[in-house]
Amino acid sequence: DTAVSQTPKYLVTQMGNDKSIKCEQNLGHDTMYWYKQDSKKFLKIMFSYNNKELIINETVPNRFSPKSPDKAHLNLHINSLELGDSAVYFCASSQDAGPRNTIYFGEGSWLTVV
């Protein structure tokens, strides 16, 4: 079983559309994350949730809205997609929100905005 799974793996969409990426972890972890990897492979945290509560919200446009219906799921909804949103989005989880923890990453969702 995949520990952190995200869908879809590939997504091609037009500018202005709204799209969602879903993520689920079966590790029993309390904390989940969204990271963005740009075309130069630079990784940056976007959001972090601990037990369904938002604890980290980096400088991300309001068009990005995470939602955590329970601690095993963290979805990412993106409104009014722009060309610059093209990237790989990684969902991840860790035992808790402490900095010592190993972070487990999903396989990524490749978003291409045309």
């Binding site: 492979k41 630079f42 980290i56 990684f90 991840a92 929100a97 402490g98 900095p99 010592r100």
Partner: protein
Amino acid sequence: AQSVTQLDSQVPVFEEAPVELRCNYSSSVSVYLFWYVQYPNQGLQLLLKYLSGSTLVKGINGFEAEFNKSQTSFHLRKPSVHISDTAEYFCAVSSPSGYSTLTFGKGTMLLVSP
């Protein structure tokens, strides 16, 4: 604020040769240090981490890294690489206080050829 510099964007090496991937960090406080590996079209996987104690850390797949506080470095080494080690390697730091917020370097592509 913390930052991570990976000095080499690409490191070509022949199979069975030793390799060192360099990582330097900048931080006004102590840090936790991590190395993650990303195989093609996959998510990131933890290789090893330094939290405290012995400065030589052993990880999976025969990799090790040494924390050098005076040089603010955490270089990754392997005495003999395999073709299957071809991947992108990311060094990351985290503050030991607060929530987990990994700051990643820009990655080093290790290219192992026969």
